[in-house]
Amino acid sequence: MASIFQVIGAATAAVSSSTSFDTKKFQLCSRRSVSERKSSFVVVKASGSNRIGSRADQLVTNAVATKADTPPAASKPGHELLLFEALREGLEEEMERDARVCVMGEDVGHYGGSYKVTKGLADKYGDLRVLDTPIAENSFTGMGIGAAMTGLRPIIEGMNMGFLLLAFNQISNNCGMLHYTSGGQFKIPVVIRGPGGVGRQLGAEHSQRLESYFQSIPGIQMVACSTPYNAKGLMKAAIRSDNPVILFEHVLLYNLKERIPDEEYVLNLEEAEMVRPGEHVTILTYSRMRYHVMQAAKTLVNKGYDPEVIDIRSLKPFDLYTIGNSIKKTHLVLIVEECMRTGGIGASLTAAINENFNDYLDAPIVCLSSQDVPTPYAGTLEEWTVVQPPQIVAAVEQLCR
């Protein structure tokens, strides 16, 4: 797997920026989380397997190493952009770097993509490299797999993750398996990406959480981005990875604004992100729920609690190292996810934590997830199906008692 570690300096710059979500502003704790990340960075590298470490050494030369203690600049370093622009920037940089990278999907060409992630790319790279496909998900996913087997590195965009259910056959049977069944002869370096999750009244069919359906497929990796910073980094890492990677974006997060570094950086696909270090309880979350958790965290801090918030980012495989370290510190776990109660990411994570860290837990793991219902269209009902900050606050209070 790609084991390119975060650039520490870049992290500093990114984290010190403010992220806006709707009208609320969050201050991500900059210095503390960076130092946490720095220390975990060092430790992971030391204890990682030799093979991964040596590959990281080869690849780090690409990233720009900046000084660890960058003095706070008067003019902020980096540039501000929205999440979909960050995705586009990552995509464009990779297309520039490697001529084999191409994009295919519905309306990705001249229209620029339904969420404008590929805007301008067709004009720059041509119609063939940013290919508009017919509305046949299974077929164009298959096309991407065939192209990958013969040397390209395609990025397959699903207009909505729910549509990729049509491509399940290709993703499971061919994407996940062909490298294995061909005895390693043919590799499939595809990136399958698209927006998923519950949006604003998109209806049941367009509000699905595909990560829970795909998580069992052997041979694929899954990551979920949540900020412009990690969106760009994960996009680049996914493209560079030789494994098939499914990158889950969220419909409501496309307009998040953040200041990201100017320098090139690539994130580790298997690493979780420490959003807010704390002492009392570990809150594991990903994608949109990260923001609900951070909102709840503000309330909790006011009430005197100190939650540790981790954005797990890597949905397959789980970063049990970071999660484990956190559990060993706090001994209490709360999982907040958007998946349904049955068979979601939270369910798997609960099982994995129980198996590995049972001795460190003071209480059973609490998992807050959506109900096992199709997402209703009515706004209020839709809101009630997603985990809201007051529920998170109540759950933490319950746990910490």
Partner: protein
């Protein structure tokens, strides 16, 4: 003709198939393959349908004459070397199928799938292609690999799943794959290879390479083939499609897309009349597969799949057409699946034995081609028996050798899932090893640790 073809009993289907052969050989005599108009027109044989008298089992003499005409039309392209090479490969394929099938029946291998009745399709189409053409097979095309140089030992290694298998013992028998011979590993799923071929053609088109992709599929499925253009190398992406894959959605989208993209792909449909136990009139009610190609704007042709020369000629010209005109081509080869679907099937349960026997005897593509090369004086009974015994000997040696080789090690169960095994897989492997060590007597000893 179409509806009559499909609503009649199997006997009538056979007869009309025979009539098509007669028609096709006449067509081949008189027309060239290259022009679009020829390709787009499905063949109407209304006037020939009544000549069932000519289609009786004693139509050998009439048929022979037609075959000579067929041969004449393409004989200028076939050298002695090529013809003998094609024939010997067809015989090798036939012998290999028979012996591996027997081995399965004896319990030495777990599964096998024969190509009996479709040898001409396998070898002749492969002969018309270039080694650089990417093949996306369904599963009944090992002859293409054979033609390209896959050795009998390599076949044996795969069916026995030993450590020399390129697939590292992970797949069922007959799921061959060879990167160096540009033959994509067979996947059990039907029709999924069709969009793959489109993708491969797209990849070649991006590289501006003069090549094409070929995909084979049967009557049950449809696959698409894309051609990519590669400078100075002409290769085709050749897609084999079974008839049964034609009904899969992948076929339609891929064919459509290949036409829109002007991707040079050869879609080769092996219409062998059966999708396991489902006969063709339960699969479709259209005039076979050629009309579907036409519907998508793809030049299409119907060929006698049991006539090696016809298949060679069609693929040869289709390839040229696809590359020069940058267009996909659909070839529907009419043939018959003379063997069972696989070793898990007994086709006598759903079709009459005399039907199978008739196809094996009179319409056998190997026999037909043999008669042609014998008339040319390039083959004889002695060379035939010598070749057959030679292959049989090689095969039994290969099988014995493959049987003795040890299986792939346990580590290969966890490799190649990803490029580098992640932590959870390493843990699972360690756990498995511990379990095996603890209960060493419960586990097979021929899998090395």
């Amino acid at each position: 003709m179409a509806s009559s073809y499909l609503s009649k009993s199997k006997h009538m289907i056979m007869q009309s198939l025979k009539s098509k052969k007669v028609l096709m050989s006449i067509i081949m005599r008189h027309t060239s393959f290259v022009t679009n108009s020829q390709f787009c027109r499905p063949f109407h044989i209304q006037n020939y349908a009544d000549s069932s008298v000519a289609l009786s089992r004693s139509f050998g003499s009439i048929y022979c004459e037609r075959r000579l005409h067929t041969a004449t039309s393409v004989s200028n392209k076939i050298t002695k070397e090529l013809a003998v090479n094609m024939y010997t490969n067809m015989v090798t394929l036939q012998v290999m199928d028979t012996i591996f099938y027997e081995a399965q029946r004896q319990g030495r291998i777990s599964f096998y799938l024969t190509t009996i009745g479709e040898e001409a399709i396998n070898i002749a189409s492969a002969a018309a292609l270039n080694i650089n053409d990417f093949i996306f097979p369904q599963y009944r095309e090992p002859g293409v690999l054979l033609w390209r140089g896959f050795s009998l030992q390599e076949f044996a290694n795969q069916v026995f799943g030993n450590k020399y298998d390129y697939g590292k013992g992970r797949q069922m028998p007959i799921h061959y794959g060879s990167k160096k011979l540009n033959y994509i590993t067979v996947a059990s799923t039907v029709a999924t290879q069709i969009p793959h071929a489109v993708g491969a053609a797209y990849s070649m088109k991006m590289d501006k390479q003069y090549s094409c992709t070929v995909t084979y599929f049967g009557d049950g499925g449809s696959s698409t083939v894309n051609y990519k253009l590669i400078n100075n190398f002409i290769f085709v992406i050749f897609l084999f499609i079974l008839l049964k894959t034609l009904l899969q959605g992948d076929f339609h989208a891929a064919l459509n897309f290949a036409a829109v993209m002007e991707a040079p792909v050869i879609f080769f449909c092996r219409n062998n009349g059966w999708a396991i136990s489902t006969p063709i009139n339960d699969q479709l009610r259209s005039d076979g597969i050629v009309v579907r190609g036409k519907a998508y704007g793809v030049p299409s042709i119907r060929v006698d799949g049991n006539d090696a020369l016809a298949v060679y000629s069609a693929v040869n010209d289709a390839r040229k057409m696809a590359i020069e005109q940058q267009t996909p081509v659909l070839i529907e080869a009419l043939t018959y699946r003379a063997g069972h679907h696989s070793t898990s099937d007994d086709s006598t349960k759903y079709r009459p034995v005399d039907e199978i026997e008739w196809w094996r005897a009179d319409q056998n593509p190997v026999t037909r081609f043999r008669k042609w090369i014998e008339t040319k004086g390039w083959w004889s009974d002695e060379t035939e028996s010598e070749h057959r015994s030679n292959i049989r000997k090689q095969l039994s040696q290969a099988i014995q050798a493959a049987e003795r080789v040890e299986k792939p090690p346990v580590a290969d169960m966890f490799n190649d899932v990803y490029d580098v095994p992640p932590k959870n897989l390493s843990e699972q492997e360690a756990l498995l090893r511990k379990t095996i060590k603890k209960h060493i007597h419960e586990y097979q000893s021929d899998v090395p640790m």
